[in-house]
C-alpha cells in the first residue's frame, strides 16, 4: 500500500534546479494519482515555453524520488501544456537520457547545466548564512577565518565558537566559548546539502567553512569577503526575480496560488543530498 503523504513528501524533495526551491512549494506538481503499485504524477510548468532541459530534469528527478518510495513499482510522469511534453515524458518514463530525447539538438547530457545552477544555489545559500552571521555582529574578517568546527547545530540554533580574544568574557548572560544563535541551524544545513550536491568534499573540522563555489577558501581581506557577498547577492536577487516571475505566470496561466514572498525569503527546506548528474531512472 503506497502512502500518498510519503509520495508528496518526496515531491517536496525535488527542487526546480534553476530556482532552487521545491516543486511542491512552487505549485508545479498538479497532482499525484496512486493506482495499486503505480504512481502517476502530473507536472505543469508556468508556461508552454519553459526550458526543455529544466523540464526534463524535474520530470526525471520526480520519477527517481517517487520510485524509491516503499511499495512503488512504477512511476509515470506526465508533463502538461508544454511544447515538448510528449518527447520529454516518453523519454523520462522509458529511462532514456536527454541526448536521445532531442536527436541532433543536444551535444551532451545535463550534468553541466545542473552543476551551473548548483553553483549559483551554493553562492546564495552561503551568502544567506554569512549575512545572518554579520547581522549577529560577526565581522567579515572573522567569517573568512571560521573553521568548520567553529559552527555547529544545536536543535534549531547554531552554536558559534567565540573568537579567541572574546572567549573568556561574559556576553549578555551567555558565558563561555560558544555563542548561541537561535533558528539559524537551517541555513547551515542548507549550505551543507548544497556542498554535497555540488560534489565538494566534506569540510573537515580544521578546514575553512566558507569557500568559493569551486571549494577554494575565501581570501581573508574584508574587501574580498564583501565582494563575494556582493556577487552572491546579485545571484540571489535574480533567483528571487525568477521565482516571482515563474509563480506569477503560473497564477495567471493556470490559477495556481502559492506564497511567493515566503519562497523569495528563502523558505526552501533542505533536500536530501543528491549527486549531480544525469539521473537515469530505472525503467
Amino acid at each position: 500500500m503506497i502512502d500518498e503523504r510519503d509520495v508528496w513528501a518526496r515531491v517536496g524533495e525535488v527542487l526546480d534546479p534553476e530556482l532552487d526551491r521545491p516543486l511542491s512549494a512552487l505549485g508545479f506538481v498538479e497532482c499525484v494519482e496512486i493506482r495499486g503499485a503505480q504512481v502517476e504524477v502530473r507536472l505543469r510548468l508556468p508556461t508552454f515555453w519553459c526550458a526543455a532541459n529544466f523540464a526534463f530534469l524535474m520530470a526525471a528527478d520526480l520519477r527517481d524520488r517517487i520510485g524509491r518510495a516503499p511499495g512503488v513499482e512504477r512511476v509515470t510522469v506526465r508533463l502538461m501544456d508544454h511544447f515538448a511534453q510528449d518527447e520529454i515524458a516518453d523519454a523520462v518514463n522509458a529511462g532514456r537520457p536527454f541526448s536521445e530525447t532531442f536527436p541532433g539538438e543536444a551535444d551532451g547530457e545535463l550534468d553541466e547545466l545542473r552543476l551551473t545552477f548548483a553553483r549559483k544555489a551554493f553562492l546564495v545559500r552561503q551568502e544567506q548564512l554569512m549575512r545572518a552571521l554579520l547581522r549577529a555582529g560577526e565581522t567579515p574578517e572573522r567569517l573568512a577565518r571560521l573553521r568548520a568546527a567553529d559552527l555547529r547545530a544545536d536543535g534549531d540554533a547554531l552554536l558559534l565558537r567565540r573568537a579567541p580574544e572574546h572567549a573568556g568574557e561574559e556576553h549578555a548572560g551567555q558565558q563561555g566559548a560558544w555563542r548561541r544563535l537561535p533558528s539559524l541551524a537551517r541555513l547551515l544545513a542548507m549550505l551543507v546539502q548544497k556542498r554535497a550536491a555540488l560534489g565538494l568534499p566534506t569540510v573537515a573540522d580544521d578546514d575553512p567553512l566558507f569557500t568559493t563555489e569551486a571549494g577554494v577558501p575565501l581570501p581573508p581581506q574584508r574587501t574580498a569577503v564583501m565582494a563575494f557577498l556582493g556577487t552572491a547577492r546579485m545571484v540571489r536577487l535574480n533567483g528571487a526575480f525568477n521565482t516571482l516571475l515563474c509563480t506569477g505566470l503560473n497564477r495567471v496561466q493556470h490559477g495556481v496560488e502559492v506564497d511567493a514572498d515566503a519562497l523569495c525569503a528563502g523558505g526552501q527546506e533542505p533536500e536530501s543530498a543528491g549527486i549531480p548528474g544525469e539521473r537515469r531512472a530505472q525503467a
Binding site: A51, N53, F83, G104, E105, G108, E112, F241, N242
Partner: protein, 350 residues
C-alpha cells in the same frame, strides 16, 4: 513628448516594440498558438487590471491601434520596430521586416525600421541582409537566437557563421544589434537563456553595440557581470520596466543593479508593445523614485536627468537622432494632429 510637472519636455523613444500578427489564421501550428499565449501570460501578469487586453485583441491589433497606443496616448516620439520572424510558427511570419515596413512607410518619421538575420541561412542570408540594407537603409537588427528553423532550435552568437554576419554588419554600417535570448538554444542541453555568447563578439566587434533585450532576464546577474566588462553592451529595459507596477521593490532592485553595473548611459527604454502599452509604463517610470536604502547601498540614483537618458536620449545617441531637430520635424505631422485632437481642452482663462 512627455511633459514633466515642471513643464520640461522629454523626448521619448520606444526602443523595442512590435507590429505583429499572432491571429489564429496566421498560426501555423501549436507552437504559434503557444507563443502568443505565452506573451499574453506576460501581459496579464504585469498589466494594471483596468488596462488588460482580451486574447483576440492581443493576437492582432492593426496599424490604427498601434499608432494610437504608441504616439497619440503613449508619449512616444519615435518607435523602433524590432522584427521577430518565427516563420516556423506563423504562416506569414510573426512580424517580419517586410510586414513592419508597411507602418514605417505610412509614418516615416515616427518609426525606425530594424531588420534581422539568421546565420543558419548562410550565403542566402548574407544576400538578404544586404538587400534589407539597400531597400530600407537599416542601421539595426533584432536577433532572436531561439528561433526555430526546421529541426534546429536555435543558434549561438559565437558560431563561425554568426561571425560572418557580424563582419557584414560592420561593413554595411548596421551597428545596433538587439539581442533576444531564450527559451531555446543550440545545443538544447545548455542553459536556454545563457547570455555568455555576447561577451566574445562584443570584445571583437567594438564598433557594434550589443543591446541585450529584457536585460538578459531571467539571467540578469550573468548579464550584469558581462556588461560590466564591455562598454558596447547595453540593456534594453523591455520586461524590466513593467515590474514597476507588479512589484515596485523588485523593480527598484533591478534598476539599482543595472545603474550600478552599466551606468545611466547604457539603458534603453522599451515597451515590448503590444505586450505592454507605453503610456502606463512611462507614467509610472517618470514618477518613480529609487528607495533611499538602495540609493545608499548601491550609490546610484534615478534622477530626472537619468530618466531622460533612459527614456530617449540614449537610444537617440545610438541611432544618430538629433532630438531637437526631430521634435520640430514631427511637431505637426498627422500623428501630432491626432494627439492634439485627443488632448483634453486647455482650461479656459478667466
Amino acid at each position: 513628448m512627455y511633459t514633466r510637472q515642471d513643464g520640461h519636455e522629454v523626448f521619448v523613444i520606444d526602443g523595442h516594440m512590435h507590429f505583429w500578427d499572432g491571429s489564429p489564421e496566421n498560426q501555423a501550428n501549436k507552437y504559434g498558438k503557444g507563443f502568443i499565449e505565452c506573451f499574453h501570460g506576460y501581459h496579464q501578469l504585469f498589466t494594471p487590471t483596468e488596462l488588460l487586453w482580451p486574447l483576440d485583441q492581443f493576437e492582432k491589433y492593426g496599424e490604427a491601434r498601434l499608432v494610437r497606443d504608441e504616439f497619440v496616448n503613449g508619449y512616444v516620439d519615435i518607435a523602433i520596430l524590432q522584427p521577430t520572424y518565427l516563420k516556423d510558427f506563423f504562416i506569414n511570419g510573426f512580424n517580419t521586416t517586410e510586414q513592419d515596413s508597411v507602418v514605417k512607410k505610412a509614418h516615416p518619421d515616427r518609426f525606425i525600421l530594424n531588420g534581422s538575420f539568421d546565420p543558419r541561412d548562410g550565403d542566402r542570408g548574407l544576400e538578404y541582409l544586404r538587400r534589407l540594407k539597400g531597400e530600407y537603409d537599416i542601421t539595426g537588427v533584432k536577433l532572436y537566437t531561439a528561433e526555430w528553423k526546421g529541426s534546429s532550435k536555435g543558434w549561438k552568437l559565437t558560431s563561425p557563421e554568426a561571425m560572418r554576419f557580424l563582419e557584414e554588419c560592420q561593413k554595411l554600417g548596421i551597428v545596433n544589434l538587439h539581442i533576444h535570448k531564450g527559451p531555446t538554444i543550440y545545443p538544447l542541453n545548455k542553459d536556454a537563456f545563457d547570455v555568455s555568447d555576447i561577451d566574445e563578439p562584443a570584445s571583437l566587434f567594438t564598433d557594434l553595440r550589443f543591446i541585450v533585450e529584457h536585460a538578459g532576464i531571467p539571467r540578469l546577474e550573468d548579464f550584469c557581470f558581462i556588461a560590466a566588462q564591455d562598454t558596447n553592451i547595453y540593456a534594453g529595459l523591455a520586461v524590466v520596466i513593467p515590474w514597476i507596477h507588479f512589484r515596485p521593490r523588485t523593480f527598484a532592485e533591478m534598476m539599482a543593479n543595472l545603474l550600478y553595473w552599466l551606468g545611466p548611459d547604457r539603458l534603453l527604454f522599451g515597451s515590448d508593445y503590444a505586450i505592454w502599452e507605453p503610456k502606463w509604463l512611462i507614467d509610472e517610470f517618470m514618477a518613480f523614485e529609487l528607495p533611499q536604502d538602495l540609493k545608499d547601498e548601491y550609490h546610484v540614483d534615478l534622477t530626472p536627468e537619468v530618466k531622460e537618458k533612459i527614456i530617449g536620449l540614449n537610444a537617440a545617441r545610438l541611432y544618430g537622432i538629433d532630438t531637437a531637430a526631430h521634435a520640430r520635424k514631427i511637431a505637426t505631422d498627422d500623428v501630432a494632429q491626432q494627439r492634439a485632437a485627443a488632448a483634453p481642452a486647455a482650461p479656459v482663462q478667466a
